[in-house]
Amino acid sequence: MLKFPIYLDYSATTPVDPRVAAKMIPYLCEKFGNPASRSHAYGWEAEAAVEEARAQVAALINADAKDIIWTSGATESNNLAIKGAANFYSGKGKHLVTVTTEHKAVLDTMRELERQGFEVTYLTPGDNGLIGIEQFEQALRPDTILASVMAVNNEIGVIQPIAELGEICRGRGIVFHVDAAQATGKMPIDMAALKVDLMSLCAHKTYGPKGIGALYVRRKPRIRLEAQIHGGGHERGLRSGTLATHQIVGMGEAFRLAREEMASENLRIGALRDRLLKGVTDIEETYVNGDLTHRVPHNLNVSFNFVEGESLIMAIKDVAVSSGSACTSASLEPSYVLRALGRSDELAHSSIRFTLGRFTTEEEIDYTVKLLHAKIAKLRALSPLWEMHQEGVDLDSVQWAAH
């Protein structure tokens, strides 16, 4: 039985896995203590749960639990990592490097630092969404103190070469930050091998609750940060504030499940994505956005030429998808990620992001494909541009008259 709307927006947020919710509830009820309370069993019990979760989160990325700092989410982690490191190391230099297709939490933070006197180089990826190793290396300068590159892009799902970039940064003593909000549970991450100094993590994209994230802060070699929230000195003084035990427990359990299940789960999800890809590319004039090889199996981002993305989203209301990242979707601007890939405004405007996940079924994919075929045909039938295209008119050569 299909349940509507079919959820294909797992990169915006995922449902909390029922097993995760079950683990959280006792910490909302009888185990309600403040983990900072040192004088009674309620506090100790909460603290023990927080530490167990810290180990579970660390295990997914093969890190030491002591390197994990709790935050309220990936946005805060990105802010803490970038502002914290830039401010701490500003005596060494004022140059930062990032990529134009990063999440807003990274880009807006970089803009903020520019106002404070830092200089930022924004690298434009190739039309496959990936940045080149040499291109990256060439952007580095003697006064570069930090580079920030996401592991997996939220809109197009491509995987950046963070292992290689990390090697380059380490060789030059540049702090390397990776936003891995979209990567956990979707690809293996090994902090023992990766030369990554700071990594932002988030629960609610990996079947955990909203309101909790973490920042991996390497201790060997030691990376220093300026705290952004000051107070009781929780989390090694890097992030003050009462720890939300139930949310932390939820993130721990979600990451434990991801570690156990990701290998088989990703095979299943990859097969479903390929089924969707095949069904969609059967439609004329469709373009997949972003590299298909260096990509997580969960993501398919497609532009349907001669169809307006917003109209398509309205036409396929039975399917919950996104036409850009959720965080910027209040605006009707074409996706800045697709524009950075060199897509025309028209193609960027006609894009849909399908993101699959743990609870996606074959039946849902088949229904979606059928619906897309029907609705796109209908929308194109109404489009004069499509008609001209069918008649063989080269639309780029048309001189449009203004009225």
């Binding site: 919710a21 309620y42 939490a105 609750p209």
Partner: protein
């Protein structure tokens, strides 16, 4: 599990089961990201909008004055750092008994300003009350930013922030109050406070039988603030990050319930505290800030000859959960800055124990606790006498 009697409600409170019920759908089928425009997202957005109105009306504010954050510490930091960044630097005044999440950002602002900002701590007297003369002296120096908590987390002392803000208003100061411990224990009317010159309040869910992970800065929109967390532009651009829908929904209901039961609840808890403090006096304890206006639920006391840590440990084993200082700072064994500010002798300050009562406590629990406390104090004193 053996459940000790919980007397540490100023550290955190148990979640109201009704609040849990309200939250569960958002940990289940209503899981959408509030920034998504499909049905899942819209349901989340509506829940947040509704929660915002409910939090606002619980504190007498307008919905557009509510900025959700992940906790009280973040809200305090957002206000102090955010407002200071938008102002001409000058004098920053905070009371000497503020929570670390006000004290520390205040220090950071001053430390990072190359002398442009100066910090002034507003003195309190031996009962934890703001020293009127000291406050007047600070006001005369025209502070740009003032932060005085509505109620102290350790002693429970209440501060008449409307009067203090009025005093600072003529000088054009921007006035903030950390109301985390006051919410649900005393009435809060942001409109009236705002008229008196209070520009912002911090309130939090987990001190009022709501969930951890949600709080709010209630702020007059005329105050210019710089966001401290940038990104997706949520919360009018003042606090980016995917909203914690379940916790926000829980926070709103907890606010309503806390304010709804305020009159009856405060009276009930005050009676329990009177019962408790009568017993304390009988045992020869010193009660701190006893002459000050206090929250009805808090009792902060010490026995001159007994270490607080020792007493608290014994009480834990006897089945009573109490605190020896504020939870946030309790990693250290230093006497608290609150005790120092009140001029309490370090020997006595090291004996400090805090009992903070809640809606779930009963007369019988207090009576049993007094009996256990009496036994423990008797035993410890005998040990001291033997050792001596």
């Amino acid at each position: 599990m053996f459940a000790p009697v919980y007397f540490d409600h100023n550290a955190t409170t148990p979640l109201d089961p009704v609040v849990l019920e309200a939250m569960l759908p958002y940990l289940g089928t209503r899981f959408g990201n509030a920034s998504s425009r499909h049905d899942y997202g819209r349901a989340a957005r509506m829940a947040i909008d509704e929660a915002r109105s409910r939090v606002a009306s619980a504190v007498g504010a307008h919905a557009t004055e509510v900025i959700f954050t992940s906790g009280g510490s973040e809200a305090n930091n957002l206000f102090l750092r955010g407002a200071a960044a938008c102002m001409r630097p000058g004098l920053l005044a905070v009371s000497a008994v503020e929570h670390p999440s006000v004290r520390e950002p205040a220090r950071q602002i001053v430390a990072g300003s190359q002398g442009a900002w100066q910090l002034r701590e507003i003195r309190v007297d031996g009962e934890g009350r703001i020293d009127g003369e000291a406050y007047q002296a600070v006001v005369k120096d025209k502070p740009r930013l003032v932060s005085v908590m509505l109620a102290n987390n350790e002693t429970g002392a209440l501060y008449d922030i409307a009067a203090l803000a009025k005093g600072a208003k003529q000088t054009g100061a921007c006035f903030h109050s950390d109301a985390v411990q006051a919410l649900g224990k005393v009435a809060i009317d942001f409109r009236a406070l705002n008229a008196a010159g209070v520009h912002a309040l911090t309130v939090s869910a987990h001190k009022i039988n709501g969930p951890k992970g949600a709080a709010a800065l209630i702020v007059d929109k005329r105050v210019e603030l710089q966001a401290q967390i940038s990104g997706g532009g949520q919360e009018r651009g003042l606090r980016s990050g995917t909203e914690n829908v379940a916790a926000i929904v829980g926070f709103a209901l907890a606010c309503e319930l806390a304010v709804g039961r305020l009159a009856a609840g405060a009276q009930r808890v005050a009676a329990l505290r009177s019962q408790f403090e009568r017993g304390l006096h009988g045992l020869g304890a010193t009660v701190f800030a006893a002459a000050a206006e206090r929250l009805p639920n808090t009792s902060y006391f010490a026995f001159a000859d007994i270490e607080g840590e020792t007493l608290v440990g014994k009480l834990d084993r006897a089945g009573f959960a109490v605190a020896s200082g504020s939870a946030c700072a309790s990693a250290s064994t230093e006497p608290s800055h609150v005790m120092a500010a009140m001029g309490v002798a370090p020997e006595l300050a090291r004996g400090a124990v805090r009992v903070s009562l809640g809606a779930d406590n009963t007369e019988q629990q207090v009576a049993e606790f007094l009996a256990a406390l009496g036994d423990t104090v008797f035993q410890l004193r005998r040990l001291v006498a033997l050792a001596g």
